[in-house]
């Protein structure tokens, strides 16, 4: 208990009776369990109008329940991405300097732009992409994912009026909505043995609200369903099943019959294929993404295994409804087939070439890489022209470091590798990091600058770029002589952060580092093709099967 009290340092601690008053659903939990586990695990907060409840990007471990009042939930960080362009001077475009600046998708439309219409956040509501603002009222819960997985807060929450909230630790959340079975690793490492909570009527209430408020948006946000009429959407809304999965639980397995289509409601799903010697991760999907369409469309077995990376909630659309939809809406069928075709082709392309058995190749994570910056050490005179070129092309900040591990006579430089298992994408609280078909990592406009992706990249290839922005701040001024308080809005200069990584110099024909190398030493290559022949030849000699190692372990050997 001492540990839990330490986490809730602000607010008024609630007694069990007060807690039951605010969250009556907890009455379904035996009193003894409440006395034993819930004491000191919740506090009450009073927020005045304009008060900040939590800020996007901040780390936390608690969830909030709104007792009274309404809150604004929004994203503060500018809705923009970083773009690098030559500086313009009196002679026109400068040939010596490039500058990074913020721009949005409307001014700088990027091919393969994400077709999302909503930003999935850690609450029972989605934020429209063009104006990321929503309201939550009494009886709503937010911060569930942060509480469960210690993700950074996905949005800023500000009181619209006088609010009373209960901030709770995970134990209360588990009591309310049921706890998820912890993974074997968690079980082995945790010292505290938690009882199993099945959840209360609160969970059903939440699901009801989700069906009423967010499911419609979610279904509409799926490009496939964009052309469905309201009647069918309503039909789907009634028919779909809301299913929860525990950490590491398999949602659908490669080779099984395809029986449903899935839409992710919350959490992160890993899509992978079992290959001889290990698992190869294809991608990660987050809130708002969908999977399972290939098997249904082509009437084939599942082509990949989808596993819950953490506590995952999905919307399951049964095969019968999915097929009914395809029959009734030919336009949808065409669209689904196009998407499935692209995914299937990508799946085929990513099949491993035969004979990758080399330890170094695997231990250094090169197998996971799809695009490596290699420096041929037999040619390189260590002149650092590549680093200077990268810095010049990116506002004076190099996105590559001529340092790293060696493979054969190549130095694997520290620059984005376009990993097959992009760990950087696994914990983005707002799902703003994705990969284009050309392997470039894209940071979407709604990046909140929390730095989780930079922290997760095992190779240190993501940087947080500071930018000066004007931010609107609301402060409440007390009214004189009983006059009502007024909200003062002022703009302040603040530093915002946006994640950035090697953009492969997509605005230029060849990456600057490669173009500037005078000695034919810097190369951007697909490692499997580049080393393919040598690896195949050596693997035949060795005759061993490969086993991918954890990227984290490889990282520690740096």
């Amino acid at each position: 208990m001492a540990e839990t009290v330490e986490k809730l340092t602000t607010g008024e601690p609630l007694t069990i009776d007060q807690l039951l008053e605010y969250l009556p659903a907890l009455k379904e939990i035996p009193r003894a369990q409440l006395e034993n586990w819930a004491k000191g695990a919740a506090v009450r907060h009073h927020y005045r109008k304009g008060g900040i409840v939590c800020e996007e990007g901040a780390f936390g471990s608690t969830a909030y329940y709104i007792v009274s009042g309404t809150v604004d939930i929004f994203i503060h960080n500018p809705l923009a991405h970083l773009r690098t362009h030559p500086v313009r001077n009196f002679l026109g475009r400068s040939m010596r300097r490039m500058k990074s600046f913020l721009t949005d998708d409307q001014t700088d439309h990027r091919p393969e732009a994400h077709q999302r219409k909503f930003i999935g956040i850690d609450a029972n509501v989605d934020l429209p992409i063009n104006r990321p603002l929503a309201q939550l009222g009494p009886g709503e819960l937010f911060g569930e994912m942060t509480c469960r997985t210690y993700q950074p807060r996905s949005a800023t929450v500000q009181a619209r009026e006088e609010c009373v909230m209960v901030e709770m630790l995970r134990v209360i959340l588990d009591m309310l909505v049921g706890n998820r079975t912890p993974s074997d690793v968690t079980k082995a490492t945790t010292k505290v043995k938690m009882p199993t909570f099945k959840g209360t009527s609160f969970k059903a209430e939440l699901e009801k609200k989700y069906r009423e408020r967010s499911l419609n948006n979610h279904l509409r946000a799926v490009p496939l369903f964009a052309s469905l009429d309201d009647e069918f959407i309503e039909h789907l809304r009634q028919q779909v099943e809301l299913v929860s999965y525990n950490q590491n639980q398999i949602i659908c397995k490669e080779g099984d019959d395809a029986d449903a289509f899935y839409l992710i409601r919350s959490g992160m799903v890993r899509v992978s294929n079992a290959l001889p010697g290990g698992e190869m991760v294809r991608t990660y999907l987050s809130r708002g993404d969908y999977f399972g369409e290939i098997g249904l469309l082509r009437s084939i077995k599942r082509t990949a295994t989808c596993t819950a990376l953490d506590a995952v909630d999905v919307v399951k659309i049964p095969a019968a409804d999915f097929n009914l939809m395809l029959e009734r809406f030919p336009a949808v069928r065409q669209q689904v087939e196009a998407v499935a075709g692209a995914r299937f082709a990508a799946h085929e392309q990513k099949t491993i070439p035969a004979g990758l058995h080399l330890d170094d190749f695997l231990n250094q994570g090169l197998f996971e890489a799809q695009n490596l910056l290699l420096i041929d050490l037999e040619n390189c005179t260590r002149c650092d022209a590549c680093v200077r070129a990268c810095a010049t092309a990116h506002d004076g900040v190099s996105r590559l470091l001529r340092d790293g591990l060696r493979y054969e006579h190549f130095l694997v430089a520290t620059a984005c590798r376009s990993c097959r298992d992009p760990l950087c994408m696994t914990q983005c609280p707002v799902g703003s990091i994705r990969r284009k078909e050309n392997l470039e990592i894209i940071i979407e406009d709604w990046c909140i600058g929390c730095g989780k992706c930079a922290e997760l990249c095992p190779y240190g290839n993501i940087n947080m770029h500071p930018l000066e922005v004007m931010r609107e701040m609301k402060t409440e001024i007390k009214g004189k002589d009983g006059a009502p308080p007024q909200v003062k809005i002022e703009k302040k200069k603040m530093t915002a952060y946006k994640a950035n990584t090697c953009d492969l110099c997509t605005q230029l024909s060849t990456p600057s580092c490669v173009y500037a190398c005078p000695h034919d030493a810097a190369k951007r290559v697909d490692p499997q093709r580049f080393f393919g022949d040598a690896i195949a030849a050596q693997s035949e000699l060795i005759g061993a099967t490969w086993k991918p190692v954890s990227r984290y372990e490889a990282h520690r050997t740096h």
């Binding site: 030559p86 040939m95 010596r96 490039m98 050490l377 037999e378 040619n379 390189c380 005179t381 260590r382 002149c383 650092d384 022209a385 200077r388 070129a389 010049t392 092309a393 470091l401 001529r402 340092d403 060696r406 006579h409 230029l508 024909s509 060849t510 600057s512 490669v514 173009y515 500037a516 190398c517 005078p518 000695h519 034919d520």
Partner: protein, 373 residues
């Protein structure tokens, strides 16, 4: 840039063909009798008679000179091209290849332009500078052909060049921290019945061997005695017993012989020994401007020293010795990297400024010559 490379073949062929063509023109014009009839120049390529006696002043000589001057100008533009990295006018690699092969082509052009004569003082100076530029360039080319591979083989891990001073400072800081962690051993209380210890007494096990390494090796005589084929022998090592507070005092130069086989050291003795070793050998080596000039800069010597030191400290301190050895190994590697890096790039300090001077003088030569033409 690796010059012996299949990718260079087209350039090589071009230079050879251009050289042959220029030579043919030269011989065909100035010594047609040396050519067989089938190789005689057609009339269209024969230059008109000139009143100038020297080859450089003839139209053909001027053509050779102008081409050479143009190549010099182009070669000088490489420096500018490297600075403007975002300029998309051909990769820097192509520019460098052109720089190398075209400047090599200037050798026959300059020789043919000069007519195999040095000429006056001005042209002699130009030729001298040209030789310096070409020799330094070819020297740099050879270095850049072989040294990268040597660096790769001899340096298992390289550091970022700009970070080397920082890493060195970190090594010194680590050594200093370790030194500070060793507390000086309490002074020994003399036994009532025992004779007073003499300053030259052979030491007991523990601090003796360690300190002896530091002390003995600091004198040339001792070094000659103790290092046999760069191997330090235990028999030759001895140390005067020293109190901890005397650890910074200079060691006696004529120590007594130590026992051949060292007795097991105590922890306190090991600490004193390591303290002395750090003060006398490790820290000076790690903080030296030129580490390769110190004895620990020699890999074999260093290995022998550390092997010996390990034998003379208790088991619990061997990890520390290994740590010190890793610092010294790293420092040696940094020194080697620095040395090879300087070799790789130092020639440019001759090549670039002399090239600039040469270009200025060649311009001057061209202006003066054409003015007086």
């Amino acid at each position: 840039m690796r010059i012996i490379n299949r990718a260079q073949l087209p350039w090589f062929i071009f230079v050879v063909v251009a050289t042959i063509f220029a030579s043919w023109l030269y011989v065909g014009n100035f010594a047609p009798q040396k050519l067989p009839a089938t190789l005689q120049l057609p009339n269209s390529l024969l230059q008109k008679p000139s009143e100038h006696h020297r080859v450089g002043g003839t139209p053909l000589g001027l053509i050779f000179g102008t081409i050479a001057l143009s190549i010099f100008v182009f070669a000088a533009l490489l420096g500018l091209r490297k600075k403007v990295v975002l300029w998309r006018i051909g990769t820097v690699q192509r520019w460098l290849r052109a720089h190398i092969w075209l400047t090599l082509l200037t050798i026959p052009l300059v020789i043919l332009h000069s007519g195999f004569r040095l000429g006056g003082p001005m042209t002699t100076l130009i030729i001298l500078l040209y030789i310096i530029v070409m020799v330094s360039g070819i020297y740099g080319l050879i270095l850049q052909h072989y040294l990268p591979t040597a660096m790769m083989e001899r340096l298992p891990a390289e550091s970022v060049y700009e970070q080397i001073p920082h890493i060195r400072a970190q090594l010194v800081a680590a050594a200093t921290k370790m030194r500070d962690s060793f507390k000086p051993a309490p002074p020994k209380k003399p036994d009532a019945g025992a004779p007073a210890p003499s300053a030259e007494k052979s030491v007991t096990a523990g601090s003796a061997p360690m300190a002896s390494t530091a002390a003995q090796l600091s004198t040339p005589t001792a070094r000659a005695k103790t290092v046999v084929g760069s191997t330090i022998t235990a028999e030759t090592v001895a140390l005067p017993e020293k109190k901890p507070e005397e650890k910074t005092a200079p060691p006696p130069t004529a120590p007594a012989a130590a026992p051949a086989a060292a007795a097991p050291a105590t922890d306190a003795d090991s600490e004193v020994a390591l303290l002395e070793f750090l003060d006398r050998q490790i820290i000076p080596y790690l903080s030296a401007h030129r580490g390769d000039r110190l004895r620990l800069g020699n890999a074999r010597f260093s290995e022998d020293t550390f092997r010996f030191v390990k034998l003379r400290v208790t088991e619990g301190y061997r990890d520390r010795v290994e740590e010190m050895q890793s610092w010294c190994d790293e420092r040696r590697m940094l020194d080697l990297q620095l040395k090879l890096h300087h070799w790789l790039h130092a020639w440019l300090f001759v090549h670039a400024p002399v090239s600039f001077l040469l270009l200025m003088l060649v311009f001057w030569h061209a202006c003066v010559t054409l003015f007086n033409y």
